[in-house]
């Protein structure tokens, strides 16, 4: 197995190792050590200041499975995913298809739809909170209603979803537009010769060829919405009665780990969330074979 290296190969190996060293050392310190630490901590009770961790086995996880709040916040995150993801994918697909033609103002539209992506989510949330204001908000004025967007537990999640979709459209539109532009024109021409145009071509050419990109968007979308933190955190008041219906599991983690300094339990929540994301990823990968086409 072991071969004697030539001088040239040895120099190359030294160069290679030196060049990856910063990244690998960084990953070990910043990522791999933390992974181990979090796993370990999830089995610990955090001691008081400087006392260190106390190993308590699976107690955190036992508590977690009996904690109604864990499941209600997880349910909120799931609700957000179920409402926002189909809307985002559908709307961004429509936008991308419409914009996938040479026309006046295409880059202007692209610029506008992408705008929310370059804004701090905190600023976006603040603006929307103002738009949602029950008495003075622009939204109620425009639709002539008196909806308690952010204080009514029934509509609060819809408010969050609106902002989420509004903010994510541009990003997904750009990705889909890139995918659309990679589809060779001949496919459509060949299909047209066979008498297939419009809707038929869309479902038989566009969607299959775009499916890897759609899959990517769905997959990252699921992960992103399960990790949702900033929008509810910024838009809602923690004292509002609507807060329990929008509080996400990612926020619950933040609350335990950093506000209540119960890092062991926080770590256990993270482990639980990651397990769920892992399972969902596997499920998605399984369904991938059914509808995603790579050629």
């Amino acid at each position: 197995m072991k071969k004697k290296m030539t001088k040239k190969a040895r120099i190359e190996a030294v160069w290679g190792l030196c060049m990856i060293a910063p990244t690998i050392i960084g990953l070990l310190v910043l990522n791999y050590y933390p992974i181990c630490e979090t796993v370990y901590q999830s089995f610990c009770k955090t001691g008081d200041f400087g006392k260190g961790n106390e190993f308590i086995g699976v107690t955190n996880f036992v508590n977690l499975f009996q904690d109604a709040e864990v499941f209600s916040t997880l349910f909120n995150a799931a609700k957000y995913t179920v409402f926002s993801l189909p809307a985002t994918v559908f709307l961004s697909l429509v936008l991308a298809v419409l914009m996938n033609r040479k026309m006046i103002g295409r880059s202007a539209y692209r610029t506008i739809f992408f705008l929310p992506m370059v804004c701090a989510p905190a600023a976006v949330a603040m603006v929307w909170k103002w738009m949602f204001n029950q008495d003075y908000g622009l939204l109620n004025h425009m639709i002539g209603a008196k909806i308690n967007w952010v204080t009514d537990p029934k509509v609060a999640m819809i408010a969050i979803v609106i902002v989420g979709v509004w903010g994510a459209l541009g990003n997904n539109m750009i990705l889909l537009l890139g995918g659309l532009q990679d589809i060779p024109k001949d496919y459509y021409e060949a299909a047209a010769v066979d008498g297939s145009t419009g809707v038929h071509s869309f479902f038989h050419i566009t969607i299959p060829l775009l499916s890897p990109m759609l899959f990517f968007i769905i997959q990252t979308g699921v992960m992103g919405s399960l990790n949702l933190f900033d929008l509810p955190f910024m838009i809602m008041d923690k004292t509002s009665r609507a807060w329990p219906s929008v509080k996400t599991i990612s926020y619950l983690f933040y609350e335990y780990a950093f506000e209540q300094s119960n890092r062991g339990y926080g770590a256990a929540i993270v482990m639980f969330l990651i397990a769920i994301i892992g399972v969902l990823t596997v499920v998605l990968q399984k369904t991938e074979k059914m509808w995603v086409h790579y050629d």
Binding site: I24, N31, A120
Partner: protein, 279 residues
């Protein structure tokens, strides 16, 4: 209807649809800017419903928020944080990317597996220990703390590796025959050719650093040491219902990135497209 009229009609309908969509995207921004120039009473006077500030454009909101929140310092913190993160990420990723794409060295596959695994693990798992490292180093509320998690990037390394792999190998072989060392080859031939993936990585890193909320909130809770994004979260609590001032703060926070975006929008969009909107 002849063919041309039909085509015009279709494109007209598409334009109407896109214009309506664009309005939905723009209205919150317009409303943010307009509110920022209003007085507090004006912002909550519903009848008549003012769109434009009726009693002159009030710049005081900006001045007050700028001073009481020390925006100069926030800008500086954010700028330094972004610059350092971009620099670190690009530097480490391009070197490692080149090595993974072109050089042979022991345990290459093992090291590359480390990169791939990191890309698959959700970010929250790192936060508590990273925070503990910062607090053990007594680095809370410092610039170092802000930059810390972004020193290396697995995804960026992957992106750079792809960039280097797409270059023809003959380029390097020619240089090698001319007696060019690996370092020279990397610095003067290969690196300049992967500029575009580096620009993508840079823009992406900058955008994510700018938008990150949880990390700066945790490691830099003091307003004067934190970033724009995290400071905004606090500002909201402070000026409870003074919406013109809150909006002025929001305008101040989004303006720099917005200007950058309008100047470099092509690069921004390409950055998102090449990196798949993920880091």
């Amino acid at each position: 209807m002849n063919w041309k009229a039909k085509k015009n009609l279709t494109s007209g309908v598409i334009h109407i649809f896109l214009i309506l969509g664009s309005l939905c995207m723009l209205i919150p921004f317009v409303w943010m800017i307009l509110t920022a120039f209003k007085t507090k009473t004006e912002s909550i006077s519903v009848n008549p419903f003012y769109i434009f500030p009726a009693h002159g454009w009030h710049v005081e909101n900006f001045v007050e928020v700028w001073n009481s929140y020390n925006f100069a310092l926030l800008y500086k913190n954010t700028l330094i944080m972004i610059a350092l993160r971009v620099l670190c990420a690009c530097l480490t990723a391009t070197m490692a990317g080149y090595a993974f794409a072109r050089l042979k060295f022991p345990f290459k596959r093992v090291f590359f597996a480390l990169i791939l695994i990191q890309m698959m693990v959700p970010g929250q798992i790192y936060i508590i220990p990273q925070y503990l490292i910062i607090s053990k180093l007594h680095m809370m509320n410092t610039q170092f703390a802000l930059v810390f998690p972004g020193i290396v990037t697995a995804y960026g390394t992957y992106l750079c590796k792809q960039g280097y792999q797409s270059l023809p190998i003959s380029l390097e072989e020619a240089a090698e025959l001319d007696g060019c060392s690996i370092g020279r080859r990397f610095l003067s031939i290969m690196l300049p050719l992967t500029r575009s993936s580096l620009v993508s990585l840079g823009i992406f890193t900058a955008l994510f650093a700018y938008k990150d909320l949880m990390w700066p909130m945790i490691v830099c809770p003091r307003t004067e040491s934190t970033t724009l994004t995290a400071a905004l979260a606090k500002l909201q609590g402070q000026f409870v219902s003074n919406y013109p001032q809150i909006m002025a703060g929001a305008v101040l926070a989004v303006i720099p990135m917005l200007i950058l975006y309008l100047i470099f929008q092509k690069q921004f969009v390409e950055g998102i497209a090449t990196s798949g909107g993920k880091l």
